[in-house]
C-alpha cells in the first residue's frame, strides 16, 4: 500500500501564516497515531485567505482543508482527513473552489500542485516539453514563436518579448547574457515570488530557452534580498537542474550550454529598473543608465543581454510547448495571453488570479476579491505598485489591459491590485508615494532626486491648509516636471499615484468632493 500523501505549502505567504508549524503538528500526530504519511512540500495555489491550505491525496483526487492552524491537526486526523473526511475546514476539491475554478492557469498551471524540487514531478506535469521543442526548432524559429504569441514584458513596461529577443539574437558578441529580473519590489505584487517558490524549474526552463534563442550561455537571476525563501529554493533548483542536465554543458543532450547564477539584491527598489539592475549586477551603485545603448546591444558587463521579468520567462515554456497560437488566442486588444493578477491588501479574497486580459477592475475587486477584508466599503484601489494610480469606484469599468489603463492615466505594472477601505486618507497615500520615491531615488536625475523631497513638503503644506490652491498648482507642475523630466519610471511614474489621488479624492486635500462624478 502506498503511503498517504499530504501536500503542505512552503510558499512564504503560507509560511508567514504558520505552514511550518502545521507540518510539525502533522509529524507529531503521525507518530502518535502510528501512521506513516508522506509530506510533500509544494508552493501555494495562491488562495491566501485560506492559507495554510493543506491538501490530501484521496481516491477522488486532492481534497483541500484550510485555513489550518497547528492546533487543528489532531482533530483533522480524528475526522479522517486522510480519506477526505468531513470537517469544518474541509474545502473540497481545490479546482472546484470558485476563486480557482474561474481562472485560466497558464503560467501558474503547476504552482501549488507540483513537488517544487522534483524534476521528475515537473516533467510528469508537462515540464521540459517547451525546452525540448525549442531545441528542435532552432534559434530563429523560437524567436518567431515568442513574437507570434504576443507575449509582452510582465515586469510592467509591456514591451514585446520577441522583439527584445530578436535584437539580442542579432547582436554579435562572443558572450551574451540572459538576465532574469526578480527584483519584484512593487507593493501588492508577489507573482514572481510565488512562481520561484512554487515552480522554480519553470523559470529555469524559460531562461534556458531564452539562452538558446539569443545565443547566450550564461544567465543571472537578480533576486531581491527580501525573498530569502525564494532564494533558497531557486539555489536548490539550480543544483538539481545541473545534476540532471537541464543546465550546464550540453543541456538536455543538445549542443547548447547554459548555466545560471543567482545574484542577490540589497534592498534598492530602483534596481527593478533594468539598467539600474545591470549596474547593480556589475557591483556598482544601482543607478539608471541612459538609453541608448539598449541592454540588448550593451547590457551586463557591456555584452548583449536580454533582461526579462520572472513571469515573462516562466511563461515561455508553456508557449513553446503549446504553440504561439494557443497563447495569442487568449486576451484582449493588444494585451495577449494571461496576466497573473495579484489581489492584495484589504481584500476579502486575497490571492493570485491568473486570467486572460480584459476583466474589468470592478470584476476583480468586487466580484473576485469579494470587497474588503474589513467589511467596510472599498474607497480606492491602487493598481500597479507604488508608481500606479489610485482608482475610485467610478473607474471600476476600466478593463484590465495595458492600453486601457494607460488611457485612464494609470498602469497595470506587474499586476498588483491593492484594495483600501473607506478609512484611507488619500493625502497621506499621495505623500507616501513622494516619500517612497525620495527614499528609493537612485539620485542620478534631478527631477526624481530633488522633486520627490519637494513633493513631500508641498503635500504637507496643502494638508496644513497653507495657500492650498497655489500649492496644489505647484504640486501639479512638479508632477509634470517629474513625469517628463525623469530618466526612468521611478521619478517618471510617481506622479500617477499623486495626481490620481488629487483628481479623484479632492476632499482629502481640502477641496470639494466630486459627488460620485469623475473629473474630466
Amino acid at each position: 500500500m502506498t503511503r498517504p500523501r499530504i501536500f503542505v505549502p512552503r510558499d512564504a505567504g503560507a509560511l508567514s501564516l504558520g505552514s511550518d508549524e502545521v507540518e510539525r503538528a502533522i509529524i507529531a500526530a503521525e507518530r502518535k497515531l502510528g501512521l506513516n504519511v508522506e509530506i510533500v512540500r509544494t508552493g501555494s495555489r495562491g488562495l491566501f485567505w485560506l492559507e495554510p491550505m493543506i491538501e490530501i491525496e484521496t481516491a477522488e483526487g486532492r481534497i483541500a482543508y484550510g485555513p489550518v492552524k497547528s492546533g487543528d491537526v489532531e482533530g483533522l486526523f480524528a475526522a479522517n482527513w486522510l480519506d477526505g473526511g468531513p470537517h469544518q475546514l474541509r474545502l473540497g476539491r481545490p479546482e472546484d473552489i470558485p476563486f480557482l475554478k474561474r481562472q485560466t492557469r497558464f503560467t501558474f498551471a503547476r504552482c501549488g500542485i507540483v513537488d517544487r524540487l522534483s524534476l521528475a514531478d515537473y516533467r510528469a506535469l508537462g515540464g521540459l516539453r517547451g525546452l525540448e521543442r525549442a531545441l528542435s526548432l532552432g534559434q530563429a524559429t523560437i524567436v518567431e514563436e515568442v513574437t507570434k504569441s504576443g507575449l509582452r514584458g510582465r515586469g510592467g513596461a509591456g514591451f514585446p518579448t520577441g522583439i527584445k529577443w530578436r535584437t539580442t539574437a542579432e547582436a554579435q558578441a562572443a558572450q551574451k547574457y540572459v538576465v532574469c529580473n526578480a527584483d519584484e519590489g512593487d507593493s501588492g505584487t508577489y507573482a514572481d515570488r510565488m512562481i520561484m517558490e512554487g515552480d522554480p524549474f519553470c523559470l529555469l526552463e524559460g531562461m534556458a530557452i531564452a539562452g538558446i534563442a539569443v545565443g547566450a550561455t550564461k544567465g543571472f537571476v537578480y533576486i531581491r534580498s527580501e525573498y530569502p525563501n525564494a532564494i533558497e529554493i531557486l539555489r536548490r533548483a539550480i543544483e538539481i537542474g545541473r545534476a540532471e542536465n537541464m543546465l550546464g554543458t550540453g543541456i538536455a543532450g543538445s549542443a547548447h550550454d547554459f548555466d545560471i547564477e543567482i545574484r542577490v539584491g540589497a534592498g534598492a527598489y530602483v534596481c527593478g529598473e533594468e539598467t539600474a539592475l545591470l549596474d547593480s549586477l556589475e557591483g556598482k551603485r544601482g543607478q539608471v543608465r541612459a538609453k541608448p545603448p539598449l541592454p540588448a546591444h550593451k547590457g551586463a558587463f557591456g555584452q548583449p543581454t536580454v533582461v526579462n521579468n520572472v513571469i515573462s520567462l516562466a511563461t515561455v515554456p508553456a508557449i513553446l510547448a503549446g504553440g504561439a497560437d494557443a497563447y495569442r488566442d487568449l486576451g484582449y486588444g493588444r494585451s495577449r495571453g494571461t496576466m497573473p493578477i495579484q489581489i492584495a491588501g484589504n481584500a476579502k479574497y486575497r490571492g493570485l488570479f491568473e486570467a486572460a486580459f480584459g476583466l474589468t477592475l470592478g470584476d476583480i475587486v468586487d466580484d473576485i476579491g469579494g470587497g474588503t477584508a474589513s467589511g467596510r466599503p472599498v474607497r480606492a484601489v491602487q493598481v500597479g505598485g507604488p508608481l500606479g494610480a489610485y482608482f475610485p469606484r467610478a473607474l471600476f469599468d476600466t478593463p484590465f489591459d495595458y492600453e486601457a489603463f494607460t488611457a485612464k492615466n494609470g498602469l497595470i505594472g506587474h499586476g498588483g491590485v491593492v484594495v483600501f477601505d473607506d478609512t484611507v486618507d488619500m493625502a497621506r497615500q499621495a505623500r507616501f508615494a513622494m516619500e517612497f520615491c525620495s527614499i528609493e531615488s537612485c539620485g542620478k536625475c534631478t527631477p526624481c532626486r530633488i522633486g520627490s523631497t519637494r513633493g513631500v513638503e508641498v503635500i504637507d503644506r496643502i494638508v496644513k491648509g497653507e495657500r492650498r490652491a497655489e500649492n496644489l498648482t505647484l504640486l501639479q507642475e512638479l508632477c509634470e516636471t517629474m513625469r517628463f523630466g525623469s530618466l526612468c519610471a521611478l521619478g517618471g511614474f510617481v506622479p500617477f499615484p499623486v495626481t490620481s489621488a488629487i483628481t479623484h479624492f479632492p476632499e482629502d486635500f481640502g477641496g470639494a468632493p466630486l459627488g460620485g462624478a469623475v473629473a474630466a
Binding site: 534580498s225 527580501e226 491588501g345 490571492g351
Partner: protein, 158 residues
C-alpha cells in the same frame, strides 16, 4: 539565527578572496561580510577597494547606496516591518507606530538593551497576508497588535 562574529580583517580578507572569481563581485562580497559580521565594518572598505582595484570612495558609494548594508552592528535580533501600501491598507502604520513607541526606537535603531533592531522594509511579497514582518529572516503575516507584541517579547527575552 546564527550569531555574527566580531570583526576580523583577516577573516574579511578570506571572504573577499573567496568571491573574487565572480563577475562583478562587490555585492556578493558585501553580503558575505554582512552575514559573517552583521554589518560592514569601516575597515572592510579599503580591503575591498584594493582587491577590486577600485577607489575607497567607489566602495563606500556602493555600501551606502543599498539599504541592506549596515555600517554598525545590529542588535541580537532584527525585526523588519513592512511599510508598503498593501500592508498600510491593513493597518501597518498603526502597528509600526506602536512598536516604535513601545521599543523606544526609531527606524534603523536598536533597543537600549541591544536585543532588537527595528528596520523598515518596503515589501516582503506578503501583500495578501498583510500586515507582514520578518524577524531574523523568518516571515510573519496577518499580524495584529497582539501577535506583533508576542513576537517582539519573544525576541527580547534574554
Amino acid at each position: 539565527m546564527r550569531r555574527a562574529i566580531p570583526w576580523s580583517s583577516a577573516r574579511a580578507q578570506e571572504i573577499i578572496e573567496a568571491n573574487l572569481s565572480l563577475d562583478g563581485p562587490a555585492l556578493p562580497i558585501l553580503h558575505a561580510l554582512q552575514k559573517e559580521f552583521g554589518y560592514i565594518d569601516r575597515e572592510a572598505v579599503p580591503l575591498i577597494a584594493q582587491a577590486l582595484n577600485l577607489s575607497r570612495a567607489e566602495i563606500h558609494g556602493v555600501v551606502s547606496f543599498y539599504h541592506d548594508f549596515r555600517e554598525a552592528p545590529p542588535g541580537r535580533h532584527v525585526l523588519k516591518l513592512c511599510r508598503a501600501e498593501a500592508c498600510q491598507s491593513m493597518g501597518a502604520d498603526a502597528l509600526a507606530d506602536k512598536a516604535r513607541e513601545n521599543l523606544r526606537v526609531g527606524w534603523g535603531e536598536t533597543t537600549a538593551d541591544g536585543r532588537l533592531t527595528l528596520e523598515p522594509v518596503f515589501c516582503l511579497g506578503l501583500c495578501a497576508c498583510a500586515p507582514a514582518a520578518m524577524l531574523d529572516g523568518r516571515v510573519f503575516g496577518g499580524l495584529d497588535q497582539g501577535r506583533l507584541s508576542a513576537l517582539i517579547d519573544q525576541a527580547r527575552r534574554p
